[in-house]
Symmetry: C2
Amino acid sequence: MNANKIPDIIIGRLPIYLRALQRLSERGTLTTSSQELGEIIGISAAQIRKDISQFGEFGKQGTGYSIPFLIERLRDILKVDRVWEVVIVGMGDIGHALARYNGFANRGFHISMVFDNDPAKIGQKVGEYEILDTATLPERLKQNKIKIAMLTVPAASAQEMTDQLVKAGVKAILNYAPISLNVPRGVHVQYTDPVTHLQRMTYYLD
Amino acid sequence: MNANKIPDIIIGRLPIYLRALQRLSERGTLTTSSQELGEIIGISAAQIRKDISQFGEFGKQGTGYSIPFLIERLRDILKVDRVWEVVIVGMGDIGHALARYNGFANRGFHISMVFDNDPAKIGQKVGEYEILDTATLPERLKQNKIKIAMLTVPAASAQEMTDQLVKAGVKAILNYAPISLNVPRGVHVQYTDPVTHLQRMTYYLD
């Protein structure tokens, strides 16, 4: 399998499949079908079959997919069969929410450090984390070979922080600021902006 | 134009285009090209031209797109040329962050009410909002004809709250809980889960 040939649009759906499969697995379910998966996540059964078939023969006619096997395969493909260390930059409400979020475990990620540049926040504790000074970020990230950051700073400082993260070796940024970031080739950005999600739905409303 | 014929995948990209165009507009820029837009948002110029051409003739050979005109058209298509009233259900960290988020204005949305079921939170103020009792949600939503909710409750109560929202007439839910929701046909759900965003990027990391 040449991983580079899988279209990004399909890669984008795999985490959704994985989440649904892990939920089924937690309930003790061992097999599923593209129909069942499709109903859970709102994607057509045909699309799911087509996506999954990109990675080999999984389903057996009549018996469906083995959930543990498909989970293992998707975790391998998405490289979340390991644990990635992640930092949070910006300890406002969203930074706090992420630092306390218990949905990272078993899904491939561990929050390793949290940063802010506000002297009133530096040194404070959020859960198990002590808020570190953003001024120490480049050194700490390089030392710990951190590749992934969640960026939860105000829009006005998002690009400047991004430049620092990139310089420190970060290759993947989940951006909560409502602006588009400029990054060099080879650095990946995902945006999470409530408004774009909402706008995607209003199209369908009367 | 038959709006129903536009594939959902294209609809999903329009809010991204709109956000980039509004940023350019704020800086005083009046025209842009598919190349420039593509560089800002990381989508190919060809894809952008193809998507935008679905809605009619916008660009002029050599002069590019008129930003104010394209913004107006996208706002119209996405139905955000009006203001939608939105409620927040669940006033934990994420609920607080959303209630204080200043990115809704001028993008088609206004937070109208916020809810929680915790007696210690009910009646407290978050910014300009008083936290209302979830028990009063069905009545208040019906009365105010609310169609859109942001769901920021724990995973364990997300489905139950969803059922209540649907019964109260909500047609679009932005779900922050890391579970898939069951909703009837005609109700739209968007998921925002940091882990699926991160997993989409780790695929590309070494």
